[in-house]
Every structure is written in structure tokens, then in C-alpha cells.
């Protein structure tokens, strides 16, 4: 144990007027850590299935994301092509990087051509990323992206345009449900390296409080809400 | 002790007039007395009262604040209620006195008793007495400054407005920053006079946007500060304590800092 560590812990205990907590008290607190309870869940994080989907879409748009509802994964390429074409970005040399998730690998990407599309982590040359959200938090229109071999984190930050596929059934109400889902997975270590909650494209107001989209992260966030995932 | 006339009395009330009112603007004291008597209160005015101890307390001189507080508690203990025309002094007695004595069991109890029966004037008239005001004050656009202590420590916001509205004849226009600090802050206004002046200027700029010719408030410290700066900037907005308007004293007494005026120019 380092000197600093023991010194800090002992300063804390002295200030609190006690020694280390007794075993019973520690067991109490430990039990709470193993069985966490939510505190105040706002009404906007609750509601029927349909209400939550509507709310997610409204809130995401409020945060300057664009949102489209599509039928299934098969519709993704067409929607992506249309979206990118609409914004007239990138032109012929566009580079797409897609998360290596089976559901996306199985989609027909032939319109994009081999040279413009690959699967894996993002590199600085990539223009557009496509990933699948772990969940959508209706409370604030927030995407929950969970890192793993099928969802590298760089996809969310290195590109100029981020496209996220969100299956309707993954839309939940409050943030706490994301923790519930992770705990259900019962992994040895509960947390992945990163859970990224993303609400809209990147922004800053650091220059004269003028709000500008596209700071360091993506300038655009496009969400495809898929009915059948 | 000075006693008011008693007739059909409701409550025995001790008037804590506050040092600023006592020394700077007795008209507010007379106005308060009239309002309480009109409401049927039997008002006592202990002549040994001086100050609530707030200047010492806010300067960090807890020892002297405690000494003064003990004196106030002893003086006003015999009354059923203690009423004061100042949000900050009321807050000193209600919120901070129990704190000053928190380590002294007997005194703490006495402080808590006093705290429970102390009220700022507008709060006493509305929350305790549900008093109706029948005086018709001067007409014209008026705006209100919410003193910080009264507002944030005692929740005084609605009460003076209810009274002013009942009285009729006032066109109350709310300033956007009615709840913003005026920069007085007790000793702050001299310790950091330049910052204080900047703050009161922002306050005045906001008040001017209402188009009001009269500013009312419930704390004389704030009102002296704002009036002083208005006069220096040559801005023609009168400043009074709300008690003056509700009691009709505004008809006979010049506004804060104003020269003596004839009846024609007084409203």
C-alpha cells in the first residue's frame, strides 16, 4: 500500500471522527453496491412503447440529429445513399466505415462499391461511419453505444458524418435501463471499456457563445430507427 | 417602551424598526406603525432597540453579533409577535439567530421562540393577519425590487404585491430582473464600491426598461443604494419603501433622497 494512499485514507477517517468502517457497515454498503436502486426517474423517461419511440425521435431532433424511420436493415443502404446524396457531401471519393456487426455485414452494400466501404474501427481518412446502437434513451433522445469487437469507439468520433442504426425495440425510457441491460448480460466485468451516450452532433459555444455544430466529433448525426431489427 | 393606542386588539406586536429606518428614514417606521394599528394590533416599541447585529454577523464578527442578538431576544421576548419593515432584519432574527446560539441550549431555545414569532411586515399583514389595505396610493407606473434576504431566505415575493394590488391605483410593472441583487450587500457596497456600483447600474438599467416612475421595495439598505445611484445619474425615478405607499405617508413625505416637495409635485 502506498504511503500516499494510507495517508489519504487516514486523513479522511480522522476528519470523519472514526476509524475504518466496521465489517457490518461495510457489508451493508457493499450490498447496496451490488444491488443499486434508481433514485428519481422523471416522467419523460416513462411511457408506452409508442410514446417512448415518438419521444426519442422528438428529443433527438431537438438535439440537431436527423432521424428517419425505416422498415428493416435491408432498407439501410438506400436510405444512407439518399441521405448522403441529399447533403451532397463527399462526392465520388467517399469512404464509409461500418461496424463489423453481422446484421450490417449481411446487408447488400453493392451500390457503394468495394473501394468506398469497409468494416472495422475508423481511421482518420474515413468520412462516414455506420454503427448499431445498444439502446436509445427516450428521455433525452440519446443513443447508448457500447464498445466491443462489434462496435469500435472510433466510429463515433473520427468521422465527419455519423450514422447510427437504432432498432425500435432497443428504445427505452430512462438511462437506468441501460445499466439494467448491461447487468443482465452478466459479464465477468460488468462494464465494457466505453459506454458512449451520444445526444446530437458535436458542438461548441466557446467562441462568443455562438453555438456551432461540428467541433471535434462528427458534424452530423443521422439516426435510422428500424422497425424490424 | 412606547405603546400604541389599543382598541379591539388582535395581537400584541413588538415593532423592530431596524437601525436604518430608525436613523435614516423614520417615515417608514411611522408607516409601519400605522399599518399595524389599522390592522388592530397593540404595538409596543421598545426604546432600547438598536440593531439586529447583521453588520457584525456578515463581517464575520460572530461574538459581537451574538451579544447584540441576546439583547434583541431579551427585549422582544415579551411580545406575541415581532414585526419589522425589513426582509434582511427579519431574516437575521428568523434564520440566523438560532444559528448564532446553536451551541447554547437555553439561548438557542429562546432564539427559536423569537424566530417563530418574527415576521417581515408584508408577510405579517398577509400571511398572519390576512389584512386588507384600503388606502388608494398614488397612481402611475410602479415597479418592485425584491430584496435578496427577504426573497431567498423568507420566500417574500407574493406578499407585498398582494397588498399593493389590493390597495388599487397602482400600475405594477414587473422588472425582468426584479429578483437580481442591487449590489448593496451591507458592507460590500463600500468594501467593493466599484463592483457594487456596476451591479446597481445594471439594476437601474433594468428598472428603466419598465417605464416606471416609482420604485418600491421592502429593505431600506437596498433602497438607499438604488436611490443614491439614481440621483447621481440624474434619473427621475422615485424610490420609497412599500409601507409608505400603503399607509399614505407618500402623500406627505418626500421620496428617498428627494428634496422637500410641494403637494403638486409629490406624486
Amino acid at each position: 500500500m502506498s504511503t500516499a494512499r494510507s495517508h489519504i485514507l487516514s486523513t479522511i477517517r480522522t476528519a470523519l471522527g472514526r476509524t475504518a468502517l466496521n465489517d457490518a457497515r461495510q457489508a451493508d454498503l457493499q450490498a447496496h453496491l451490488k444491488n443499486p436502486k434508481p433514485r428519481v426517474i422523471p416522467a419523460r423517461g416513462q411511457g408506452s412503447r409508442e410514446a417512448l419511440i415518438e419521444r426519442f425521435i422528438d428529443e433527438a431532433r431537438r438535439a440537431d440529429a436527423s432521424v428517419e424511420r425505416i422498415g428493416g436493415f435491408a432498407d439501410i443502404p438506400e436510405n444512407v445513399a439518399e441521405y448522403l446524396g441529399r447533403s451532397n457531401r463527399f462526392g465520388k471519393d467517399i469512404k464509409l466505415k461500418i461496424t463489423p456487426e453481422e446484421a450490417l455485414k449481411n446487408v447488400d452494400w453493392q451500390d457503394f462499391g468495394e473501394n468506398h466501404l469497409d468494416f472495422g474501427a475508423a481511421s482518420p481518412d474515413d468520412d462516414v461511419s455506420i454503427a448499431i446502437a445498444y439502446a436509445g434513451v427516450a428521455e433525452t433522445g440519446t443513443l447508448a453505444m457500447v464498445s466491443g469487437p462489434n462496435c469500435p469507439v472510433s466510429l463515433h468520433f473520427l468521422v465527419e458524418t455519423q450514422i447510427v442504426v437504432l432498432v425500435e425495440s432497443a428504445i427505452i425510457g430512462p438511462y437506468e435501463e441501460v445499466w439494467g441491460l448491461l447487468r443482465k448480460q452478466n459479464n465477468k466485468v460488468l462494464m465494457p471499456r466505453a459506454v458512449n451516450f451520444i445526444t446530437g452532433p458535436s458542438r461548441t459555444a466557446d467562441i462568443e457563445q455562438t453555438l456551432l455544430l461540428g467541433a471535434h466529433g462528427p458534424k452530423n448525426l443521422h439516426i435510422l430507427v428500424v422497425r424490424n431489427g | 417602551m412606547v405603546e400604541s393606542k389599543t382598541h379591539d386588539t388582535k395581537f400584541r406586536v413588538g415593532l423592530f424598526v431596524t437601525c436604518l429606518v430608525d436613523l435614516m428614514r423614520p417615515a417608514v417606521g411611522h408607516a409601519t406603525l400605522k399599518l399595524l394599528e389599522d390592522a388592530g394590533c397593540d404595538v409596543g416599541i421598545p426604546v432600547t432597540q438598536t440593531c439586529c447585529g447583521q453588520p457584525a454577523y456578515n463581517a464575520g464578527d460572530a461574538k459581537d453579533a451574538r451579544t447584540i442578538a441576546a439583547q434583541v431576544i431579551e427585549t422582544f421576548e415579551p411580545f406575541e409577535y415581532v414585526v419589522t419593515p425589513s426582509g434582511s432584519c427579519a431574516s437575521m432574527l428568523k434564520i440566523h439567530y438560532p444559528n448564532l446560539f446553536k451551541n447554547e441550549i437555553d439561548w438557542k431555545s429562546r432564539a427559536e421562540n423569537l424566530a417563530a414569532k418574527t415576521f417581515e411586515l408584508s408577510s405579517f399583514l398577509t400571511d398572519v393577519l390576512n389584512q386588507k389595505i384600503f388606502h388608494a396610493p398614488c397612481s402611475g407606473k410602479t415597479t418592485y425590487h425584491d430584496g435578496c434576504s427577504g426573497l431567498r431566505e423568507l420566500g417574500i415575493k407574493r406578499q407585498p404585491r398582494v397588498l399593493l394590488e389590493q390597495a388599487g391605483g397602482i400600475e405594477l410593472v414587473e422588472a425582468k430582473e426584479a429578483e437580481s441583487c442591487c449590489g448593496f450587500g451591507g458592507l460590500f457596497c463600500v468594501k467593493h464600491a466599484d463592483v457594487s456600483t456596476h451591479i446597481v447600474d445594471a439594476k437601474i438599467d433594468d428598472i428603466q426598461k419598465t417605464g416606471a416612475g416609482l420604485l418600491l421595495g421592502g429593505d431600506l439598505g437596498c433602497l438607499l443604494n438604488i436611490a443614491g445611484r439614481l440621483h447621481r445619474r440624474g434619473i427621475d425615478i422615485q424610490v420609497r419603501h412599500f409601507a409608505e405607499v400603503l399607509s399614505g405617508h407618500d402623500q406627505t413625505v418626500p421620496a428617498i433622497g428627494a428634496e422637500e416637495q410641494t403637494k403638486e409635485t409629490s406624486s
Binding site: P192 | P26, H30, G53, I68, E153, R232, G257
Partner: protein, 471 residues
């Protein structure tokens, strides 16, 4: 940053005369408070959430040793390392040491007030390592060699022209004649330059908004995405955080998150809220290979035993700054150190010692707006009064200030003397109406304000006389 608290009065005076700063503060006054108000209107549960946030932070502080130990266990379980630093010097040594171990040449940094507190950039530079601030505001002030002037908007004191000039002076590889008037153009230029730095950095250093004991996670909140690029791309991630940043569970973190962004910028949620735990897993495609957390005490533990403990609930949202009449008049630099506004006035004397920050507890009208808007209900005016008490007690008995206060108090405690002295005062200065434009003993008032004339007779004297006459 070397503290310059002693010159608060001079700093404030300069700030009031600084036209560009005053314009910036005007923008702040109309910006953040209105946005916060609108966000709260859309959340009826806001006050309940504030209570919950206060309660959970109080609980943590009461059991801080337990939660720090649990946090450390979980970080280690996830493959990370925890370092403990008693003070700034130890933290500097640890961080520079880690950078040296990994042969770091360039380090990217996301915004960290603790980083400012321990002046880590200076120490990295002294060790031949180049720190690059990546938060837009921090990047700008790094170029200008200035400290931050606000907790969440470090360059809020600057105009876009000043930013343009700074870029022109520093981005010398670009055409001198290029237009730099528009914020959009400035942002794009900084984005391009910093993108290269993100990609090439050897180590990324972040702060942390929260540390989650349940999982050993950091919660890091930005709008720009710079923290995520800082901690994902380099091979090493070092996070430095003070010990009171702990929350017990992920649910507790969610509670704090609900009040944080709303109180800070008026957003329901910041764009990027990232919960990171340990280094990359074996099957991750990206992420840092090494993950280090530096826990800093530097005076916090000692605060636990005092009423000042309440200040440790602070979640650094800056709501108090945005609503403070004093901060809005003079900005952050006037306060002389890393933390400014009401939270700075209460915290800095605890970290630097009351005698090294005497001016700060008095830099307040005690209006209480800070307490009103604080998402964790810190009673800042109460804490400032306590600091003023400490200052008064240690102040020399011979100081003019102390003697004057004691004299007033002694007179107020003696009613007969008070009345007698007042009669003299009223005789000299009392008038029926009117005002003074100059009073020698109130010079500081009458420099800028008229002083309404005191009464010729006090209320108490007048009412006593009337009663006597009536009889």
C-alpha cells in the same frame, strides 16, 4: 497558475474597465441563465433531483474512504492502475513519470480543472513533453498563455476578434491574409489543426466529472467530443480527479447527470457523456492499452471534518458563476486563481488557506442566488460567512476594519450610548429631506452615489417625544 488572490480589488477594478470583457460578460448574462431556466421548465422533477443529488453526495462524503477503496478495486479488476497523490507535487510527479515511462512526446488533454490546479502543463513542458489542450476554449487560452476564466467555458472572456488575432499569431503556417472574422471559420481551423494532434498523441490526459465506485468507471462529459478522442486514440489514458468526485453506483451517476448539463449550459444532456472503464479489452478494435487514474487529495480530506464539507458536493456546473452579480461584473480572472465566482470564493480559501485568499469570502453581496441555483444545494452564503468568521478571528486586533466593527458593535449593545451618539450624528448630518453628494466618512459611497440625508431625529426619539407630548 500562481495565485493572485491578494490583488482582487485591483483585478476587479481592471476588469470593470475592460470593454471587451464587459461585452463578453453581457453575453454570458443573457446566455446561460436563460438556457438553464428553459431546460428546467421542461423537467418538473428538477427540484426532487436536486434533493436526490445532494443526499447521495452527502452519503458519499460520509463514507468516502469506503467508496475510494471500492473504486480502486474495480479499476484494478478492469485492468487499470490507481495512483494516490496527497498534493499537487505528488500528482505532477506521477503524471510526468507515466508520460516518461511511455516515451511520450506529445500529450493531448481534455478540460480538467484539477489539471489547472496542479499546473500540469508547466511540469510536462519542463520535462520536454508537449501538452496540447483540445477543448476549444482551453486551446485558445493555451495559445494566449492565460488561465481559464470560467469552469466550463474557459475562453468566455474573449471576443471572436481576440480569438482571430490569436490564431493569426500562432497558426503561422497558414496565410496571414486569410479572413478570420467568423466563429465558423475559427472553429474549422482549430478542428483541422487539433485533428492532427489527436491522431499523433502518445498519451491522453483527461479529468473526470465523476468516478463510479460500483464499476471503477470514469464519467466524462463534453459537447465537443475532444475527451473521447483524447482517451481513445493514444496508447495511454491518464485521468486525474480529486477524491470527492466519487459516486456509489451507475444509477447515482445518472441522477447527477440529469442536473449537471441543465445547470451548466441548459442542455438536457451534453452531447457526449462517456463512461469508461479500464484499458481496451482483448477483443476491442480500438482504445488505450494502459489506463491510469490519479486520485488527488490536496486539502479535500481535511474539509470533511468541518462545515466546509458541504463545498465538496460541488459538481462543477458553473451555475453559481452564471448567476452571480459579482462574477457577472468582473469575470473569472479577477478572483486570482483556478476557481472563481461563488464556488471559488468558498473553495479556494480551503485549498490555499484562509490567509492566502482573504479577499475571496468578502467578494460577495451574500445575495444567495448561488444557493438558489446550485444543483446540489450547497449553502454558499453560509460557507462564506464561516470563512469571514475565520478571517475576522485571525485578523489583527489593530486593523482599522476590525476596530471599526467592534466599536459599532459595542455601541449597538449599549442603547443609551447609541441614542446619545446618534443625537450628535443627527445634529451634524440630519436633514428633513435631500441628500449629500459628498461625505468624508462615506467617501467610498459618495464617489459614485448620492447619500440620502439621515433624519434629524431618529424614529425612536421621535415616537418617544410624541408619546410624551400626548401625555
Amino acid at each position: 497558475m500562481k495565485p493572485a488572490v491578494d490583488s482582487f480589488s485591483d483585478n476587479a477594478r481592471d476588469a470593470l474597465k475592460d470593454v471587451k470583457l464587459q461585452d463578453a460578460l453581457e453575453r454570458l448574462s443573457h446566455g446561460f441563465p436563460e438556457k438553464r431556466r428553459k431546460a428546467i421548465e421542461r423537467l418538473p422533477e428538477f427540484d426532487d433531483l436536486r434533493d436526490a443529488a445532494r443526499d447521495l453526495k452527502n452519503h458519499v462524503l460520509e463514507h468516502l474512504d469506503f467508496y475510494l477503496e471500492r473504486f480502486e478495486e474495480k479499476v484494478i479488476e478492469a485492468g487499470g492502475t490507481v495512483h494516490w497523490a496527497r498534493d499537487a507535487a505528488e500528482a505532477q510527479e506521477i503524471i510526468v513519470g507515466l508520460c516518461r515511462d511511455h516515451n511520450a512526446k506529445t500529450v493531448t488533454k481534455s478540460k480538467s480543472m484539477i489539471g489547472e490546479e496542479i499546473a500540469i502543463n508547466e511540469h510536462l513542458e519542463a520535462a520536454g513533453i508537449t501538452p496540447v489542450e483540445t477543448d476549444m476554449g482551453e486551446y485558445i487560452i493555451q495559445l494566449r498563455n492565460e488561465p481559464p476564466s470560467h469552469l466550463i467555458a474557459p475562453a468566455i472572456h474573449l471576443s471572436k476578434d481576440q480569438v482571430g488575432d490569436t490564431f493569426r499569431d500562432n497558426h503561422t503556417h497558414l496565410s496571414k491574409a486569410r479572413p478570420l472574422e467568423e466563429p465558423r471559420v475559427l472553429l474549422d481551423e482549430a478542428r483541422d489543426i487539433l485533428r492532427e494532434r489527436f491522431i499523433n498523441a502518445d498519451v491522453g490526459i483527461t479529468g473526470a466529472n465523476m468516478l463510479v465506485a460500483e464499476t471503477g468507471s470514469l464519467v466524462i462529459v463534453t459537447n465537443e467530443g475532444n475527451a473521447d478522442l483524447t482517451m481513445t486514440l493514444p496508447k495511454v489514458h491518464i485521468a486525474v480527479a480529486s477524491i470527492e468526485k466519487i459516486v456509489p453506483t451507475l444509477e447515482d451517476a445518472s441522477t447527477i447527470l440529469r442536473v449537471l448539463a441543465r445547470s451548466a449550459t441548459g442542455q438536457d444532456m451534453s452531447v457526449y457523456t462517456s463512461i469508461v472503464t479500464g484499458p481496451k479489452r482483448d477483443d476491442d478494435l480500438d482504445g488505450p492499452g494502459a489506463f491510469h487514474v490519479v486520485l488527488l487529495d490536496s486539502g479535500r480530506a481535511a474539509m470533511l471534518g468541518r462545515p466546509m464539507r458541504e463545498m465538496l458536493r460541488c459538481i462543477r456546473c458553473a451555475a453559481c458563476l452564471n448567476h452571480c452579480p459579482v462574477y457577472k461584473s468582473i469575470g473569472g480572472h479577477a478572483y486570482g486563481w483556478v476557481y472563481s465566482g461563488p464556488m471559488g470564493a468558498a473553495l479556494v480559501p480551503n485549498l490555499l488557506g484562509v490567509h492566502n485568499a482573504r479577499a475571496l469570502p468578502h467578494a460577495s453581496t451574500l445575495c444567495g442566488t448561488c444557493e438558489d441555483v446550485c444543483p446540489v444545494r450547497i449553502p454558499i452564503p453560509k460557507l462564506l460567512r464561516l470563512l469571514r468568521q475565520r478571517d475576522f478571528m485571525t485578523e489583527s486586533a489593530f486593523s482599522v476594519n476590525k476596530r471599526a466593527m467592534r466599536l459599532w458593535a459595542r455601541i449597538a449593545a449599549r442603547p443609551r450610548l447609541y441614542r446619545c451618539l446618534h443625537k450628535i450624528f443627527a445634529g451634524l448630518f440630519g436633514k428633513g429631506a435631500g441628500r449629500y453628494t459628498h461625505l468624508p466618512f462615506l467617501r467610498k459611497w459618495t464617489v459614485t452615489r448620492d447619500f440620502p440625508a439621515p433624519a434629524k431625529k431618529s424614529f425612536i426619539d421621535d415616537i418617544s417625544l410624541r408619546k410624551c407630548n400626548k401625555k
